[in-house]
Subunit: 188 residues, 2 copies
């Protein structure tokens, strides 16, 4: 039985994620993590014995699961490549709240973040690029070109999030999403 008076593990992770996602690893103070979750610091240490690094690792794993659910999951099923990539695009819009959110791949890759967090992050990015490349190949694009386009797509999404944040305007992100499928599947 779940104990309703206590915050659920999933809710807790979601709130921790929000903090790390807006201020990064070093910027996320235990005071802020405590405030945003409603748990005292000691309670956070009870749930995450490894402290802040432990929290960030769990957040990254949870975000990875969300990403797989919203973004990857459609890539493996049946359906045309165009349809699968369109599902991914819509998942990205949700995942990044239409460009309002930053990506942990950006915030967690800066110096000062522990390597135990940066390493799985790189793996996740590579997995994403590879999964998209497989779908692009299905559409008849040769493997080298498919890999190039997939990397370019991820580059554009990351860049659009940075530019949107820096300008305080989500149009760059929405512009990239609008062309994402066509750019991946364009004729050679």
């Amino acid at each position: 039985m779940a104990r309703p008076e206590s915050i659920s593990k999933s809710d807790l992770l979601q709130r921790l994620t929000a903090v790390f996602r807006s201020v990064g690893y070093e910027g996320a103070s235990l005071a802020a993590l405590s405030r945003e979750t409603g748990l005292a610091k000691a309670a956070l240490y009870h749930r995450f014995p490894g402290g802040k690094e432990d929290m960030a690792r769990c957040v990254l794993a949870e975000v990875g699961r969300d990403m797989r659910g919203l973004v990857f999951s459609g890539l493996d099923g049946e359906g045309s490549p165009r349809r699968k990539l369109a599902v991914m695009r819509d998942g990205l819009a949700l995942f990044y709240a239409d460009g309002e959110r930053s990506c942990l791949a950006d915030l967690f890759s800066v110096e000062g973040t522990p390597a135990t967090i940066r390493t799985p992050l790189a793996g996740g990015l590579k997995a994403w690029i590879a999964a998209v490349a497989r779908v692009v190949e299905e559409a008849g694009i040769d493997p080298a070109e498919a890999a190039r386009r997939s990397e370019d797509m991820v580059v554009r999404v990351q860049g659009a999030l940075v530019v949107s944040r820096a300008l305080g305007d989500t149009r760059p992100f929405r512009n990239v999403l609008a062309r994402l499928v066509d750019d991946l599947l364009a004729l050679p």
Copy 2:
């Protein structure tokens, strides 16, 4: 007369820049800024009475000047659009050390950085996009499409820096630069 025993203003700003560029605004502690410049904290306060925020503002202004020198300067002169954009591309390779360096537009746009720094940053990004769009228009591309391509170029450069940093591999950055001019000037 310059006093040779004291670090020059330009050298000082360059060393401060290196710190902010690798760890961001909040991550740049006065201890690190002091260590990397060889000046005691009190001496830094003598030169930058506004403290860390003052240093970051001066660093941003200096980086803006470097950017204008290396990246913008070629855009206004004579020469074909293709040649001018190629000069910009080579300037970018230098400016970002072939993808090894991060961009302040990324690091300084995260929450926690004072607005006095984030605001001029957004202006600089917009100016860059506009300057490139003018050259693309010179090549006969219509203004709306030129604006779109220029924004997309900046998006790609920013994204390539993020992905290169996250993967620990500068290939994404070099790939973007290799196609930058052709993508801007492609036939409609």
